[in-house]
Structures are given as structure tokens and as C-alpha cells.
């Protein structure tokens, strides 16, 4: 199979280092992965190409990069499924993290965030002599999160990190969930109050914009965003709901639960807190513009026709 691998290169040792695209027309096996193609290029065509790779079997996490604009593991991406109409596979280094050389990026930011969430078990009760007793169900659930191989694909494509490097990010937050959901971490009931309190601070769990890039990018099915959502729930359960994110979620749910539809006018105000005068004042310009353009949601919010059924369901299912 003939393909052209188009790689974004960067050589810091050059006299005037700059980003440039280089095309490598090669012939590879039908079943080859993108990594097979890159290894062949560096072994047989161009020894100056730098990339990280090791296991070839989606477990070491070294070869995360952007293929055709989206992050993934090169060893898990089939070359035949990555070719565009012109027979080209576009390969670039992972996003968000600065490029060191070619496809190698600087992972310092990634590891700094992982370390920030104190990524080791912190039981608050005395250790038993033998193993902790824990259900297989709880361990299987955690294994779905510990499946994370720290490849950085989620961080690469995170839309929040793209504009705000202070955000903890999907990998660190998923790692944090791995502990908040571990029955051995935290108090006797397995509730990790300290962690939940810290993770609810600005740039933490509430800053996720729910865009699903990390879920899409993750090659191991960890679904970081889903873990962040689950952690938000844990935080609310543990009583940490004095923040806009928690208020937003609760107000939204209450609105739909009581009327069947979303009261768009009141939601922003309930999110910031109805007594938060300064924030409410901040809405005035936007509110005024909306009013003068005929876009202000109705003052009187109507219930749906069968609202009683909705309310009954809400009462039954509200947790």
C-alpha cells in the first residue's frame, strides 16, 4: 500500500528553527499502523525524525500524537483508515504541550498537574493486616479509570487547556476521580472530603466545558469527562455545592423537574447565586442587549402540558 506521511517537523538545533512540513512517500503493509509507518521512516528513510514510541501495543502511552488533526495513539491507528483522498496521512505532535522536536512534546505541564492531585492512595482509617475488603464491582469500576496509560491524548485536545493552561485538565481530574471513587481512600465510608474540597476550587472539576474531546481522544476508554461529571456529583453529595457550577447544575435540574422546560431567564442568575449582587449586575449589559434585540427569554416561564407527570417522575428519581 502506497501512502504519503506528511509530518510537521521542528528542529531546535537548526540555525533558524522553524516549523515545516515534510512529506515521506512510502510503501507499507495493508495492516500497518501509523506507528509502523513512522518507524519505517526513521529506520530506513530519515534517521533525524524524532518521536517517542515503545510497546507498539497501546500500553506504554508513548506515541500519542495528532493524526489528521485529532489526538490518538499512533500504534492503535490503522494507516489504511487514516489516508485522505490524496493518499496523505497528516501527522503532528500532540497539542497544548510545547514541541521539543518533531513529534516529541514537553510533558512537564502534564506531570505537574498529575502531581497536583496527590495521586496516591490516602486512607484515613488504619490499614488492615490483610487486604482491604472491597467489592469486585468497585474494583472493576476503578480499573476502568486506572486503564489510563498517561498518554496525553486527552490533554492534547482539551478545549479548555487550549485557552487556559491553569486548568487541571482531563488526565489529572480522571486520576483524581480514581481516588475519590476508591472505597479505601478517604474516611471510613470511602468519602475523600479533602480531595473533593480542593478539586472544587477554580481551575478544577467545575471548569470542564463538557466538549467530549477527551472522551473521543482517549485510546483506552477512560472517558475522562464522564469521570469529571461523576466527581461533580460526589462533590455535591459531600456538601460542596457553594459554587457556580454546582448551583448551575442544580438549578437546571430543578427547573426541568418542575416545569418540563428550562427557565433560561432565571438560570444564569441562580447559577451565580440570587444574592450575588455584583455578578447579577454584570449581567445587565448582556441582558439589555438581549432585551433590545428581542432575545430576552420570557419573564413568565410556562409549564409543559403534562407537567404533573414530570413532577411525579422528578420526585421519584431525584437523588
Amino acid at each position: 500500500m502506497d501512502v504519503t506521511v506528511k509530518i510537521k517537523r521542528y528542529n531546535p538545533d537548526a540555525e533558524r528553527p522553524q516549523v515545516e512540513w515534510q512529506e515521506y512517500p512510502i510503501s507499507i503493509d495493508e495492516n500497518a499502523t501509523v506507528l509502523d509507518a513512522l518507524i519505517m521512516i526513521r529506520e530506513e528513510v530519515d534517521g533525524t525524525l524524532s518521536l517517542r514510541c515503545s510497546c507498539r501495543s497501546s500500553i506504554c502511552g508513548s506515541c500519542a500524537m495528532r493524526i489528521n488533526g485529532h489526538a490518538g495513539l499512533a500504534c492503535k491507528t490503522k494507516a489504511s483508515e487514516s489516508i485522505d483522498a490524496a493518499g496523505i496521512i497528516l501527522v503532528e505532535p500532540a497539542g497544548v504541550m510545547p514541541t521539543v522536536k518533531d513529534l516529541v512534546v514537553n510533558f512537564d505541564l502534564f506531570w505537574q498537574k498529575i502531581e497536583e492531585v496527590e495521586p496516591y492512595l490516602k486512607p484515613e482509617v488504619p490499614e488492615p493486616e490483610a487486604e482491604y475488603i472491597a467489592s469486585n464491582e468497585s474494583m472493576l469500576h476503578l480499573s476502568g479509570v486506572t486503564a489510563c496509560i498517561m498518554c496525553g491524548a486527552c490533554v492534547s485536545d482539551c478545549t479548555v487547556l487550549e485557552v487556559d493552561p491553569t486548568f487541571l485538565g482531563p488526565a489529572a481530574l480522571a486520576k483524581a476521580y480514581r481516588f475519590t471513587a476508591d472505597p479505601r481512600d478517604g474516611d471510613a465510608n470511602g468519602v475523600s472530603r479533602d480531595r473533593l474540597a480542593k478539586l472544587g476550587m477554580p481551575s478544577g472539576m467545575w471548569d470542564c466545558t463538557r466538549c467530549n474531546e477527551c472522551v473521543q481522544a482517549c485510546p483506552k476508554g477512560v472517558a475522562p469527562m464522564d469521570r469529571i461529571m461523576a466527581m461533580r456529583d460526589q462533590a455535591i453529595e459531600a456538601g460542596f455545592n457553594n459554587n457556580n457550577g454546582a448551583r448551575h447544575t442544580e438549578a437546571f435540574t430543578e427547573s426541568v423537574g418542575h416545569t418540563g422546560r428550562l427557565d433560561e431567564l432565571r438560570l444564569p442568575m441562580q447559577s451565580v447565586g440570587m444574592t450575588n449582587i455584583s455578578a447579577l449586575m454584570g449581567f445587565m449589559p448582556v441582558g439589555w442587549r438581549a432585551l433590545t434585540h428581542g432575545k430576552l427569554p420570557p419573564l413568565i416561564h410556562k409549564n409543559v402540558e403534562d407537567v404533573e407527570t414530570i413532577r411525579r417522575l422528578f420526585r421519584k428519581l431525584d437523588n
Binding site: 528542529n11 531546535p12 538545533d13 495492516n31 499502523t33 518507524i39 526513521r42 529506520e43 530506513e44 530519515d46 534517521g47 533525524t48 524524532s50 518521536l51 517517542r52 514510541c53 515503545s54 510497546c55 507498539r56 501495543s57 497501546s58 500500553i59 506504554c60 502511552g61 508513548s62 492503535k76 490503522k78 521539543v100 522536536k101 518533531d102 516529541v104 514537553n106 510533558f107 506531570w111 502531581e115 495521586p119 496516591y120 492512595l121 490499614e127 493486616e129 490483610a130 487486604e131 482491604y132 475488603i133 472491597a134 467489592s135 469486585n136 474494583m139 472493576l140 476503578l142 480499573s143 486506572t146 486503564a147 489510563c148 496509560i149 498517561m150 476508591d182 479505601r184 481512600d185
Partner: protein, 559 residues
């Protein structure tokens, strides 16, 4: 000058465990690794970790017996006793650290059956136990505060007056060469799978530490004992865990027969790995295979079990062969997987060079002898990683740093590396030489060997070593120069390959993983001993060491 009392080279399971133990022992410890610790090859271990828990009614002596028999009686029984006796506590320690082991209905640690053991004592996390343990160990390493040199490649050992004084290391990200002084060095650099082609091993497994220690005068032992894993994917060589067979999968020939009936009527697919690999290869050679493979059949295990316990290898099967093991058998064949041999150590990881230790796959205590049981490797790394780290810390307390002229050492090494960069561009690329070595080893020093074949490989290796001297390095830069690193690794691999081949030639019998067509039987009278190789003036020098026997008399090995 950078200096540490205990310097651990390699940050896989053994290395990280050693670092934590050294630190706990009060030493100023540091760990150096050519990749980030979580990229280490320990992550590729799939099946599980063995331990005999007495509160389950299991007995560590049973585990020891299974291990000794599995080793085909080449394992040192005192070392095996140490490992099996410590296993229970090591396992609980890992669980306390946070590993998310599978559980039984009572919420206690759950087990699965595994090769060569008469009782299920393999504890596991799905089919990615290695990755699970590695990441937890890394979490503990972060917690311990041990200094980490991540993506630093050790290029040479600094030896002063016959004593280890430290290492020189290339900081891969910048290309800067450093010298680090150390009172003791622990090699935890893993095996050397890449000198065979194909292999289950990751690209980074190139025998660096083994070669460095060997060239500095350390003895390596049982190098001929190379494990071919029965179930590897054709082409890439990627591993499909023994756990599949542990959960009940069958091996079938082209006619759908479970051929293991002929070779191991009792344990069938769960006989020891060397037995299963030889059986498969025999069937394939006799024309009973399919495209050079036999079939791993998991279709009768059911979707639920596979998704719960074998999810990773199912993905690998789909990604790399296009076959979903829930619905159809997956073609597999024996592939090079593990080196039982390695740097000879005592039960505290000490080598014959004072201050130099080794643990994990690069070491040979020996607990695996002629064949390693599945799920004993993870145990080996943790038990002997801990013992080495603790002992090195104790050793370092009584030592002073040796004087090292930093500038001179660094300049000399820089000059050597520059010499490689300055070579003419027309020599054979490193990849070509590695492939030639890998082919040769896989042809003649694999499952079935004979004198002519091994000698042919020894000859080919000599030739490759000569050509190696002219391998060009096309990347002349400083930053992340992998081309230079691969050229250095190839040198290490060639040294290991030579030690393996001469050992295979020397042992004129079949035992464990070594099967000589010209000497097909086991010969305890002449060969119940370890083959030791040292780097001599003009090449490898062979000697022997006795096998330590405590309680278990060698007997015929049948499964």
C-alpha cells in the same frame, strides 16, 4: 557534581521498588531512566502476580515446588524460597498501596489459574496487571520524593581503581552529557528482547544494563535460557496473555484438535511455557498449523468473562489481527518474550562487582532457572527490587564517594560519542544490523537449536559486530537524538546476543527453555549447573556455578 548514595538505573517495577526501599533505608537515592517511568516495559505484563496466601490454605512451599519444577531444576532453591516466602506480604503491600486487584464474592483478592501451577494463586487486574502495578508503584515513587532523572540515557559506567564510582548519562531532551557519582548502582534495566525478531518486547528493551555491567566485569548467567511465549501475534510479535489459557482457552491445530493432549496430558494448555511453545512449534513444523500459527480459541468463554477479565487482549486481537476472540479463534505462535538469564546476583541483588547490584529481568538470582512460570516475573521484580534497594542503602552507609574527575570523564565520553556522529554516512544503518541479528537469533537460538545453527549465529554476530563499528548516525543534533541512542543500544544488544549464543552452544543438553536437537535429553549428571559468561580479554569466557539445592531433589519433569 551530581551525586547520590544509591543510583538506580531503570524505572520499571524493580527499579522503582528498589528506589523506594533505598530511600526508606535512609539513603540519598535517585532513579535514572531513558524513558518516563510509566513507559517502562513492566506495563506490558498482562496476566498477574503469584503469591501463596496462608490464610487461604495455600503453602509457599507448594509455590516454591511449582517454581523449581518450572525452572527444570536449574533455579537456585534458596532464592526461590526467599521469593515464595515473601510473596504473600509483597502482594498485600501492593494492595495497600492501592492496586485495584480483582476480587472474589467475599471482596477478598481473587485468583486465576496460571501455567505450571497446580493451584490458582495468580492475583490479577483484568489482563493488564503489569500496567496496574507499574502505575501504582510510580504513585508511590512520587510520594517518596526520590530524585528522578527522566529521559536520561546511561552511556557508560565510571570505574575508578576497579570500583564503581558512578555513571555518565545523556540528558536526552537537551543532548547534554552528565556525570553522576554514586556509592552504589542498581541495574534494573530489564531484558534484551529486541535482539530477537520478532519479540513481544517493546522497542526500549535492549539489554543496556546487562551489557554495561557485563563489560565492566560482572558475571552473567544462564543466558541461553530464553523464553518463547506460546501465544504471540504473528508479525508484530505482540503478546496475548497466558491469562486467556488461565481462564480456560484452548489451543487448536488446523483441524480443531487440542494438540496439547499429546504433550502434556495433565496440565494441557497450562503446562509450563517452554513445553507449550515446543509443542506448538512441533505442530507447526509438521504442517498442522495455519499460516505458521496455531489457534487460540476463547469462543467458549463467553462475552461477559472476556470483557471482564481479558478485555485488553481482545482489543489487541481486533487491532492487530482483525479477529474478535469472542466470536472466532485468534492465530498465534511462539515468540521471544523473556530472558531467564542475566547478571548473576545473590539474594540481596549483589553482583560480583562491589557496589553493583541488579534486580528484575536483567538480574539472575536465579529464581527462574531454565524456564520462568507466568506471573512469577512481577513477583521477582518486587521482592528483589526491595531487597536490592534495602541492601544498597545499607552498603552505601559504610562507603565514601570515590573521587571522579568530572570534566575529564565527561570530555572523554563526549569525544567518544562525537566520534560516532562523525562517522561517514555510508555504513549499514543500525536498523539493518539489528534486523540481521534478530533474524539470526530467531532462526538458530530459538525454540529448537543445534550446534551448526548456533555456530552459524555466533559467526554472523561476529560479522555484525564488525559492521557495527561503522554504523552511521544521521542525526547530528543535540536535542532528542534518538538516532544516536539507537546506535548505542545496538552495541549493548550485540554484546548480550553473543553471551546468549555462546551459552547455548556450551550447554550440551536440553533443559527448560533450551532444547538441543543434538542433545534432546536432560543430563543432570553433567549439566545440573549454571553456565556463567564473563567478558574476557579476547571475548566471552565461560565458567560454571553450582545450583543451590535445599529441599527438592531434581526429578523428571512432566506435565
Amino acid at each position: 557534581m551530581l551525586e547520590h548514595e544509591v543510583l538506580i538505573v531503570g524505572a520499571g517495577l524493580a527499579g522503582m521498588r528498589a528506589a523506594i526501599a533505598a530511600r526508606a533505608g535512609g539513603a540519598n537515592a535517585a532513579i535514572i531512566s531513558k524513558v518516563h517511568p510509566v513507559r517502562s516495559h513492566s506495563s506490558a505484563a498482562q496476566g498477574g502476580i503469584n503469591a501463596a496466601l496462608t490464610d487461604r490454605g495455600d503453602d509457599w512451599e507448594d509455590h516454591a515446588y511449582d517454581t523449581i519444577k518450572g525452572s527444570d531444576y536449574l533455579g537456585d532453591q534458596d532464592a526461590i524460597e526467599v521469593m515464595c516466602r515473601s510473596a504473600g506480604q509483597s502482594l498485600i503491600d501492593m494492595e495497600h498501596m492501592g492496586v485495584t486487584f480483582n476480587r472474589d464474592e467475599e471482596g477478598k483478592l481473587g485468583t486465576r489459574a496460571f501455567g505450571g501451577q497446580r493451584r490458582a494463586r495468580t492475583f490479577f487486574v483484568g489482563d493488564f496487571t503489569g500496567q496496574a502495578l507499574l502505575h501504582v508503584m510510580f504513585e508511590q515513587l512520587i510520594k517518596s520524593g526520590v530524585q528522578r532523572y527522566e529521559e536520561w540515557f546511561v552511556t557508560s559506567l565510571i570505574i575508578e581503581e576497579g570500583q564503581i564510582a558512578g555513571v555518565t548519562a545523556l540528558e536526552i531532551r537537551t543532548g547534554k552529557l552528565h556525570a553522576i557519582r554514586a556509592k552504589s548502582v542498581i541495574f534494573c534495566t530489564g531484558g534484551c528482547g529486541r535482539l530477537f525478531e520478532p519479540s513481544t518486547n517493546a522497542l526500549i528493551v535492549t539489554g543496556d544494563g546487562m551489557a554495561l555491567a557485563y563489560n565492566a566485569g560482572a558475571k552473567v548467567m544462564d543466558m541461553e535460557m530464553v523464553q518463547y511465549h506460546p501465544t504471540t501475534i504473528s508479525g508484530s510479535g505482540v503478546l496475548l496473555s497466558e491469562a486467556a489459557r488461565g481462564e480456560g482457552a484452548y489451543l487448536r491445530d488446523k483441524n480443531g484438535e487440542r494438540f496439547m493432549e499429546k504433550y502434556a496430558p495433565n496440565m494441557m494448555e497450562l503446562a509450563s511455557r517452554d513445553v507449550v511453545s515446543r509443542s506448538e512449534q512441533t505442530e507447526i513444523n509438521a504442517g498442522n498449523g495455519v499460516n505458521g500459527c496455531v489457534l487460540l480459541d476463547c469462543t467458549h468463554l463467553g462475552e461477559k468473562l472476556i470483557m471482564e477479565k481479558l478485555s485488553q487482549i481482545r482489543e489487541l486481537g481486533i487491532d492487530l489481527t482483525g479477529k474478535d476472540m469472542i466470536k472466532e479463534p485468534v492465530p498465534i505462535r511462539p515468540g521471544m518474550h523473556y530472558l531467564m538469564g542475566g547478571i548473576k546476583t545473590d539474594i540481596d541483588g549483589q553482583t560480583n562487582l562491589p557496589g553493583v547490584y541488579a534486580a528484575g529481568e536483567c538480574a539472575n538470582v536465579s529464581v527462574h532457572g531454565g524456564n520462568r512460570l507466568g506471573a512469577n516475573s512481577l513477583l521477582d521484580t518486587i521482592v528483589f527490587g526491595e531487597r536490592s534497594g534495602a541492601h544498597a542503602a545499607y552498603f552505601a552507609r559504610g562507603q565514601s564517594y570515590i573521587n571522579v574527575n568530572e570534566n575529564e570523564v565527561v570530555a572523554r565520553e563526549e569525544h567518544r560519542l562525537q566520534g560516532m556522529l562523525d562517522r561517514p554516512d555510508n555504513g549499514d544503518r543500525w536498523g539493518k544490523i539489528r534486523l540481521a541479528m534478530g533474524d539470526s537469533m530467531n532462526r538458530n537460538v530459538a525454540v529448537f537449536r543445534d550446534k551448526e545453527g548456533i555456530e552459524e549465529t555466533i559467526h554472523e554476530l561476529q560479522e555484525l559486530k564488525t559492521r557495527y563499528g561503522g554504523v552511521p548516525v544521521h542525526n547530528k543534533g543535540k536535542v532528542f537524538n534518538t538516532d544516536l541512542i539507537f546506535a548505542l543500544e545496538l552495541g549493548f544488544m550485540l554484546d548480550c546476543a553473543e553471551a546468549i549464543a555462546v551459552s547455548a552452544l556450551e550447554r550440551k543438553e536440553s533443559r527448560g527453555a533450551q532444547f538441543r536437537i543434538d542433545y534432546p535429553s536432560r543430563d543432570d549428571e553433567n549439566w545440573l549447573k549454571h553456565i556463567v559468561v564473563s567478558q574476557g580479554e579476547v571475548g566471552p569466557e565461560l565458567s560454571n556455578l553450582p545450583v543451590t539445592i535445599t529441599k527438592w531433589t531434581p526429578e523428571e519433569r512432566k506435565y
